[in-house]
Symmetry: none
Subunit: 481 residues, 2 copies
């Protein structure tokens, strides 16, 4: 069931108004990771609640309690639960998004003020912090709802909403809220949910819309090697004591090969080899080795084989060495033997890996390798955080609806992608609701979420709004099919 | 010729005043390695010049030009040349010291503010950055001069001074100055110098004074591996690109074994094996494996054999990994793939090694090993600074004077030691003046130079001042013997 023409036209006709509303949202610096901006996150939550109410959504702000950040106890921004429609003959779609943003300052290298939306007519870009992550997509839903309310169109599905203000800072409190709402069943805000749609990621490139059915998980490790009780002078102590840095660097060198192969025994064995059919899927994606190298800014792809590079991101685990805490990290030449050094690395996980079984393998390996070093320094292994990987059934009707909607709006097939990063809430929805979860991105691969000059293309904002609406019609069509 | 009793008494009677003056010196954060503190280094130089003038020393500040640090062009702190006495019947002693210090911040783990001298009555410690390295010893000379001026005592020798403000940052400009002053002969500030005395090192332990006749040299390397043009997100890019950290850590792991053996081919081969006679000398020193472990604060000595551990410091080269610049070094877990990372390490050298032949071996080895990694990241090797090792004749009259002075003040024979650290200027003085150079330390082995909670014991400051003065009398006695 295609979306009605008057809905689609409404989006184009009200483009300026929608962009103005995005400007209002961007102007509120709702930075969840900065205590000084906590009130702005609340302000943004109130603004969003008001907008939802205006377009007919019943809402509730849920207090998630307090937490400690930068040594201060702070009130957590509320989750916004919402509902519109209660027709048992219709499917019910749960929408997730977040109204907080990453920090941004002009001095970080922005060309324009980050919290003032700039409409660049020449490039067609809407530039500002949060434009694509995740205020643009949230406002896409508002655009859909406003069109229906103004035009007097009936929504093709029942909608439930869950918007949070802490996504950029660990989604504190959200998992518990979701589980508790699910547990309430018919009396909760997630009653009757048939599927979930999250619009909080990006196309693989700048050309082809995509639908995402997988995310990597993560297991983050901190490995501390300690020796002397204080930093020592390398002239006085060099070659008299076992140096922690020597042992830590030796350990870290045994984790991953230059080509990305993970050397921790068992970690790669958990992952099934790609079938020829699977490799064909990756080869078909509108993405090239050159795209990766362009995004990285240098000719450093791990392979000249397209499928190898793309699978490296989407269906293989990866291990990155992030750095060392406690060692000399400044400029110049300091002749110190650091007393205690902590190597930081993380492994991105794919099914069936879990943070728990990876931690077991990593800890055993590090202990074994450390013993071989025969050092008198001591070893401590910590697991800083973890999240499971997620892969959905991309042949589910939820995905089919999104594919049809994409074809209708963009006149082409979407890429079916898995993402290298992690959005832990995805898995919480999938596991606790037991329904299919879909990631339907609005922005492009070069939007620069978390970076300077974050933008959302005007065409992606408008076509993206049409896509979200059309997707609801296709879900509705399946319900009545 | 023993030092006059009234000189020795004067030191004890004026202890509080001398400690107060040390507090003034410590309060100036003259960190030569930090551009933001450059003006403090100048301030310290001016303060020291004023003090020298007050006790009768004629001085000259020598402009050493400019240099580039952290991308900024900076004026180098001046060298302070000084002279007092011009009696052709007396020997002339050249004194060297440095008025700059290592960086220090409370957050590094100091128990007290590093730039506020704390007099801990219970332990008898004077705690603060520079207390022992090298403001305490410089002030020891001031104490000697003040005593003689106040008491109307004639100095037993002519004195020449050379104090610099860049010792902790490679002594830039100093070698040229020394050579040029030496070249001026009678018209220069080093006219008639018979011997040199440097007080800028430490006892081997906390009990026995020592005199030092050897120093290790140093070759300091910065190895940069670069890949992408900006830091990347490990979720999006992990296993799609060659990561610079992976290659750098692999390279750094190939430099030194946990037991201190240097793995760069050729570096150890340059050093002759120790003879049995030599090993016997090291076994005789008042120093034990337990002393090393006590100073390090942990049971981490590389061997249970005394001579092996002491030779590791005194007559063997050592390689220490200091840290990595450009990687994630903060607390917590950041999922970054750093774009460009620089490993810092240095090799302490012993005769006949030179920084030049070591650099050749290191660069070849790093390039060979990097090639084996088959990464598309790029390698750059820089030689940050270097200094030759030095060994003097410890039977020279300069050393005999220091031995007699030590017996007089401490009532025991000094240990004769070689040091693990580097004071490159020692060699410049020895080579360009062609006279004997002596290292006569003031502080103890646990003073923590370059570390947190740097201290000088009150008794070392006072007895050390007496020692420096008594040494001058013994040199004077040799002149008239």
């Amino acid at each position: 069931m295609p979306a009605p023409d008057k809905f689609l036209s409404f989006i184009d006709e009200h483009a300026d108004k929608f962009i103005k509303r995005l400007g209002e949202a961007v102007a509120i610096p709702s930075i969840s990771g900065d205590a000084a901006h906590r009130q702005d996150v609340f302000k943004m939550g109130n603004w969003l609640q008001g907008q939802l109410n205006t377009v007919g959504v019943q809402t509730k702000l849920v207090d998630l309690g307090k937490h400690v950040m930068d040594g201060q106890e702070l009130q957590l921004p509320p989750a916004i639960l919402g509902r519109i429609g209660d027709d048992s003959k219709k499917k019910t779609v749960l929408i997730y998004g977040h109204y907080d943003v990453q920090p941004a300052e002009l001095s970080d290298g922005w060309d324009t003020e980050p919290f003032k939306l700039v409409v660049d007519e020449a490039s067609g870009r809407l530039i500002g912090r949060g434009a694509t992550d995740d205020k643009g997509p949230i406002l896409g839903w508002l655009n859909v709802l406003e069109a229906h309310k103004t035009l007097g169109l009936e929504l093709p599905v029942n909608l439930r909403f869950c918007f949070e203000g802490m996504e950029e800072s660990g989604s504190e409190g959200l998992d518990d809220l979701i589980k508790s709402e699910v547990a309430k069943g018919k009396d909760g805000w997630f009653d009757g949910v048939d599927c979930v749609c999250i619009s909080d990621n990006y196309w693989l490139n700048n050309r082809t819309p995509c639908i995402t059915y997988g995310l990597r998980g993560i297991a983050y490790f901190k490995v501390t090697v300690s020796g002397p009780t204080r930093d020592l002078h390398s002239g006085i102590f060099g070659r008299t004591v076992y140096e922690p840095m020597t042992a830590l660097v030796a350990l870290m060198s045994k984790l991953v090969a230059p080509d990305g192969t993970i050397l921790v025994p068992g970690v790669e064995d958990l992952v099934p080899n790609a079938t020829d059919e699977e490799i064909a899927i990756y080869n078909k994606l509108d993405y090239s080795v050159q795209d990766v190298e362009q995004a990285a800014g240098a000719p450093i792809a791990i392979s000249s084989d397209k499928a190898t590079v793309i699978m490296g991101r989407m269906r293989m685990p990866s291990l990155s060495l992030h750095g060392i805490e406690g060692a000399f990290s400044g400029a110049g030449g300091k002749t110190v033997i650091p007393a205690s050094v902590s190597g930081k690395f993380s492994i991105r996980l794919v099914p069936p890996q879990t943070p728990e079984d990876i931690a077991t393998l990593v800890e055993k390996y590090l202990k074994d390798e450390f013993a071989k070093l025969n050092t008198k320094a001591t070893l401590k292994i910590e697991n800083l955080h973890g999240g499971k990987p997620w892969v959905a059934d991309h042949k589910h009707w939820n995905f089919e609806a999104a594919k049809i909607a994409t074809r209708a709006v963009y006149n082409r097939d979407p890429d079916l992608t898995r993402e290298g990063g992690s959005i832990p809430v995805t898995l919480t929805f999938a596991d606790s609701l037991g329904v299919n979860v879909l990631l339907l991105p609005m922005g492009r691969g070069d939007d620069g979420a978390h970076s300077t000059n974050e933008k959302l293309d005007r065409s992606n904002f408008l076509k993206g709004s049409k896509l979200l609406g059309t997707y609801l019609y296709e879900v509705g069509a399946i319900a009545t099919a």
